[in-house]
Subunit: 343 residues, 4 copies
């Protein structure tokens, strides 16, 4: 396993990590989930990512059980969770009110409930799962600092915030002598590059922002398994998923966006073949090559899938500057930033 | 004339203002320039915008002469200039070095030279004409605050900075107890909407950023005078311009971008006709309707052109929510941001 | 016993103190260790120094047991421990990752584990056992302040940091209104003088840095017991030691460095004889004479050794300015700094 | 000419620059000095370094005269001077009192007198010519900030300060929201490497410290002209110099230090021959290769000497990593710092 610092911090995390948005506590049963966690830990993965709303809280419960079951110690692990969408905690899901968003009330109540589900005294990182534009930034920054000061987490981060919101969080933190967000968790893959390569480009040096990126395979599109089809076949995960995020995405099935994405995947196939690797491995390895990425969050329904993903670490070594250029040329979606200092 | 506050400040500026990037000191002769300045002043325009590099410094010289000639007083005017591209100040234009950029040295030396050309003791606003990513933000913020503290300007702003750079300037200013940038000067018109409507959308409330926007007619395209042509006709300003900015733009003449823009202008024609106004008036009036815009900088080679532009103030009153929606529907380039607060 | 303030603080510690890097929990058995602790306490030593990695955690365990066994109260003791090298806490010593260094995670987890081993709710001082140049200084300073704010320690310090790193920690602490490092723990003895007398010379007045120095006898060399030998004789502690630090030092055995050091010890012998004291007592007494030293950490495998060391307090009174000058002349390794203020 | 940023600032200075400690205003007559200044300017050197005590103030007078004579403008120049040793300004040189050191009184009075001698309204950088350990750091930092705030200089720096003093200046500056020292001016050459490569190594990243280094040829030793001699021959500059610095250095003539230095120069000769360059060019080029060096201050008594020095810019391109390693191996005085971040 390769390890990297999470942004400008002293925290070391595995370059590949295990997440599980709708898997653990969801469509994967408990024993299979335990097998995946164990396989991950045994291959040196130390970073496990979850969230209060993954499988309505069940993802946290099962991760906590695994830690107990295998006798793992927190000093050997890096655990992150996320607070924002805590609908499931409310007795009135139709009227979530303060069971949602980034008010001081929900940030603190939500994380206390996450720790209860995980059965842990603290986690390593808590992410703000989305921006909350209705709560003042000062309230948000102070709430996460409260979590740090009270020992419930060591670091805090953001997920799917805009660059200017992250900069604003740092403005508030700097003015008040508080701790700013250490990491951001965006989507990043061969088809979705803008945030990481363009919008965030000034954050890395200015604020030391680290990235733990999700959807490296863009919900499976980058494995090539949907190529040649107008839409996900009945029974496939994309076709069956009922979560809001996938339902929104499903509106593209069969339309121009869908076709354009499959076309781009098709262009990558000859490059993967030439390297003797699968499309999925190429896609994961490509994300690993970005030096601003601290960890690539992968999912796995079976230990075998995880082993398959791990091979991306070796594949990354094959991605020379020439190969990376071939990929950019094939996709035509790279962001080119001008060089900075005097030659 | 209508007046607006410049962002979150007490400074009142005319909603239409007079700029002159390549006109005054350039292709318009001195007497005609004086006539334009006088006509503007007489119709109530109080905000005049220039820059150290407009016509290689001559734009500032002629504006200063006009102020003297007509006996105007600074308390009745709002003058802005911009520092960044001070090639003209160097004895060695081929080696501009510190005559350029936003180092403390050039910000202070450049503005001193601008004031000498204007023959004024101070201006009201100095804009940083572009971001300088090679100079530390703290150096930049401190340099503009020096200008304020030494009485050379009352406010400072930015031009064509990214939202995250503006946020970062505020971070540094807030941390050090200094003054942040009050205004941004971007391009904004019916064809170029992204910065003002999307990227900057959080700045207005957070930092009180005011906008003084340029190119409301997108270099004449929005007057409709190029419609039906593959490229600007010989002799037109777009065809003859030799400045870097227009030369770069000229690469689009005749290509898909050019045609798409002319198509969009064509779609606006029936709407203008229905309102009984020219395309130019519609375009200017539309910019005026954006409440985040403090002033729309217009150019004029003749007083008559200015009078024509001024009618946009009345036209703006005809732009009801329904009409604005028709425009958005015709162009299909609006940015829709979700409503914020509860209720 | 003589007591001194620890740097610029109100904390009073014994000028001689008891440490135990590889002794307690290591080659000295538990009963003998208890005897040493008791003898130290009974002669008025109140400062006991340990570390998370001394004898892989066992040094802390045995010190904690002694405190319980003899019914000592924390208000009569000053206990320090150190965090950095916590390999022993990891289930995977070959992959220590976050069980090491000065990340917020390890500083807090490591000290919590130290307190568990000591079975104490808090210690008086936690030292950062080495600089961690891969963790931002702000993260380090904040982590130690968390320990203070949460009542786990009263003060924090550094060990074997460079002067510029200590100054930088104070810069961060001062900027954020946090507590800087109170004390540094370097090596200091008649043969190793540079850090304390030269590099650190500006720290004492600027930051009030106190010193708790280790290796006053330079691992026994200054007792003279190795003189006349090419290398430590088989069975001696230097010959048998397996720790990394001594193994690195062992590379000098028999070479020029080794011979030069024994030569210097030989030059001290006549001076010790003239004063009627042993070389070890002279060496300890000499360290005590440095007014920037708050405490000299000594080791003892037997109570008798401790009593022998304690005589250094009386010997120190014999070290008049003339005698100190004789020592400097004999060794030729003094640092002479110019006098400062106007005469 | 090659240009570099001065540390972490937006100021661009020539990689080779012209200084003149005992030359201009000293043993070189005015016309020859003017020829040197002109030759420097014409080859693109924009950075000229002087000090209040160089040739008792005459160096500043002659530099000011040259600027007037040739009609140079300050926006095309970067001028630095230094304050500390202003003995010459006192009517009572035997009782300098406040004509010396870094009290607020002398920093401000001294720089005002320097500006009068230069006949300039401001300089670009003022260096504190030595540390003044009798004046509180806060007084020093505030005095230099006064110079910046009152427009007498754009930046301030230090010369021959220790790393911990520079760090302490930053501590004071950060605590008070003031500007810290941008640059340090130390000696640096093939024979004197410790400060730049070892002591200062943490400053570059932490504080963005730039270096303008002096004595790249170590007062001529590195030209090889003294090799084969027990001491500088009568009539040579080293033999005739009467300034305190050279007189102190002269104590080494003929002794072990002298011989060791000449031995090291001799070892460089074959390397210079192999590259087909002079020893002086090799020595200058080697200093240029250090990326932490912003400018190498050279002296010249005649324009021809300057042209000779300028060839070092091309020679630097020949100093490949392999050649640099050969030099390190020959001299045996390189500082090797361990790599930092995780591999």
């Amino acid at each position: 396993m390769e390890y990297r610092y999470l942004g400008r911090s002293g925290l070391k995390i595995s370059a590949l990590s295990l997440g599980g948005w709708i898997t653990y506590g969801g469509h994967v049963d408990e024993d299979e989930a335990f097998s995946c966690f164990k396989a991950a830990y045994d291959t040196g993965i130390n970073f496990f990512d979850t969230a209060e709303n993954y499988s309505a809280g069940k993802a946290e419960v099962i991760l906590g059980k695994a830690i107990k079951k295998f006798g793992w110690k927190q000093n050997d692990l890096v655990i992150s969770t996320k607070v924002y969408f805590g609908l499931n905690n409310s007795a009135h899901p139709e009227r979530p009110l303060n069971n949602n968003g980034l008010s001081r009330k929900h940030v603190i109540e939500g994380v206390n409930q996450s720790l209860a589900r995980l059965d842990l005294p603290y986690v390593d990182i808590v992410f703000a799962h989305r921006p909350d534009r209705d709560t003042p930034m000062e309230e948000i920054v102070r709430a996460f600092n409260y979590l740090i000061d009270s020992g419930k987490t060591f670091y805090w981060g953001t997920s799917e915030w805009s660059a200017v919101e992250i900069a604003d969080a740092w403005r508030v933190a700097d003015r008040l002598g508080l701790v700013g967000p250490l990491a951001e968790q965006p989507q990043y893959n061969l088809l979705v590059r803008g945030k990481v390569e363009d919008e965030f480009r000034w954050l890395y040096e200015k604020y030391g922002t680290g990235l733990t990126v999700f959807s490296p395979l863009k919900q499976g599109i980058l494995t090539g398994k949907y190529n040649g089809q107008d839409a996900p076949p009945p029974g496939s995960r994309l076709a069956e998923a009922k979560d809001k995020f996938t339902v929104a995405y499903s509106k593209t099935f069969g339309n121009d966006v869908w076709r354009r994405e499959l076309d781009q995947v098709a262009k990558l196939k000859p490059l993967a073949d030439k390297l003797g690797v699968t499309l999925a491995q190429l896609a994961l390895a490509w994300v690993l090559k970005n030096p601003n990425v601290s960890s690539v969050i992968t999912g796995a329904s079976r230990p075998a899938q995880l082993q398959e993903n791990l091979r991306a670490l070796e594949v990354a070594e094959k991605l020379t500057p020439d190969v990376l250029k071939e990929i950019d040329d094939a996709l035509g979606n790279a962001f080119v930033n001008p060089p900075r200092r005097l030659g």
